[in-house]
Symmetry: C2
Subunit: 246 residues, 2 copies
DNA sequence: CGCACTGTTGATGTGCATCAAACAGCGTGG
DNA sequence: CCACGCTGTTTGATGCACATCAACAGTGCG
């Protein structure tokens, strides 16, 4: 199920010295509280590019905080069609959908060589009983995912292809920027087909959308390298938010 | 913001004598535990048809369990377009998306004269500290909403109009059936336009879809009355799950 | 009775899927 | 080193599913 490479000399596996701590589960906890959370994370996992961290149906053992790299999560219909439900970058949590029935409801693939912090869920729930702010953070994390999904439904229901692509780029830009990366230059770790699945479009439509945004001088995308030239223009495009035409 | 009709002679407002308790937050709690939860629900609200229980931006005070009636939740884009994000029947919880930023992220409208149990959220979190199974239920409730949204994304990304409609009817049928209502005959409380928004389609397409299902002998829908004639046929339709054609 | 609202059905247009072909990058092996 | 295959990306041509526009029927209500 998952690549259990034990990284031989284990890095001090602690939230307290993690670069994404301020975006993750321990947000707002005191030093002493974070140390108690640390005890749940016995060892980080490395996941090789293309490998699955967990698969649909796997029992829920841990939630996973992305530390390095990136992931896609996807569900597959009975007839084998894939729907990408999200992309995840450092500081973001994986596995939240498994809590509902103690089984993972999607599969998480590493888009590049990556590293995660497994957080044993039963222990997390136990610890959260004595740490109200930890419980509150978990509640918020879950709720935030719901809000995110609702805005994806808005996108799928009401935006045309170019607007979807613009919204996708803007969203990624903002999340990267909040992690200290450039908001204007970044690399897409996923294929066109995966972007298409995520946005409810075909890969060819993604290519054409990229060409349209390029022709309007908004962004320049060569292969997987993105350079945003006109952030406000992109934002305006999304706020148009029209169905099909116009 | 909400219709604060104090129902003059207050019904004994308790989970313990509620008809949907086995579907709601207290699921699996002991009698004594349910009684403690009862103390949070000081008074039920009635919400008139068409009125909003809460609106986008309202501060999160309570979550709401639907007791009687039904609701739709929707978000509105900057340019005023509505996306229905869900329909809610008795036993289902409203307001989960508000936890993320302590503000409601959508608006909840009553589709008919309805009644809800407000559950003061701050008190709920406090109580959940001493009732692990209550906390666990809340976690599951949140996670279940995420799973539901992901299957909606699959629907929006991969199903054609007739399949979406079939999936919608089947889903509603199952939820009603688990509440003791008939799975084969029920009434749609929402308009065609609202179904369309929910499924990412126009109202005319919903009408045509209804006609197609009728022509195949699967269901009969006159105005808002639904009669399912061939449940397996409907299921088969959804499992086809093809994009656009076929 | 008249008006507003909701639902149905037909005619037409279009945005995106589909099919197709060519190109770029990249690792492998001769 | 280049030839080769493989994967991913780009661009063009065509068709279709659904949006759009429009007309009309059914229903409820002041």
């Amino acid at each position: 199920m998952l690549e259990a490479h034990s990284p031989p000399p284990i890095l001090k596996t602690a939230c307290s010295n993690c670069s994404v701590v301020e975006l993750c589960l321990p947000l707002g906890l005191t030093g002493a509280e974070v140390e108690r959370l640390d005890t749940l994370i016995v060892q980080r996992y490395k996941v090789k590019k293309g490998a699955a961290l967990y698969r649909t149906g796997d029992p829920l053992r841990s939630l996973y905080a992305v530390r390095i790299g990136s992931f896609k999560t996807s569900v597959v219909s009975v007839d084998g069609r894939e729907q990408v439900t999200g992309f995840h970058i450092p500081g973001e949590m994986l596995g939240l959908d498994a809590i509902s029935i103690d089984q993972h409801a999607c599969t998480a693939y590493a888009l590049e060589d990556s590293e995660v912090c497994p957080i044993h869920f039963a222990q997390l729930e136990k610890l959260a009983q004595s740490l109200p702010s930890l419980q509150h953070n978990l509640n918020k994390l879950l709720s935030r995912e719901i809000v995110r999904d609702h805005s994806m439904l808005m996108l799928m229901g009401n935006m045309n292809s170019d607007e979807r692509l613009a919204a996708f780029l803007l969203n990624l830009s903002q999340r990267l920027s909040s992690r200290g990366y450039s908001s204007k230059e970044f690399v897409l770790k996923m294929r066109r087909e995966e972007i298409g699945s995520y946005l409810g479009l075909r890969l060819e439509t993604i290519c054409r959308g990229i060409a349209h945004l390029r022709d309007q001088g908004l962004v320049e995308i060569t292969a997987r390298d993105v350079r945003i030239h006109n952030m406000d223009g992109l934002k305006q495009m999304v706020s148009g938010c029209n169905r099909q035409s116009h």
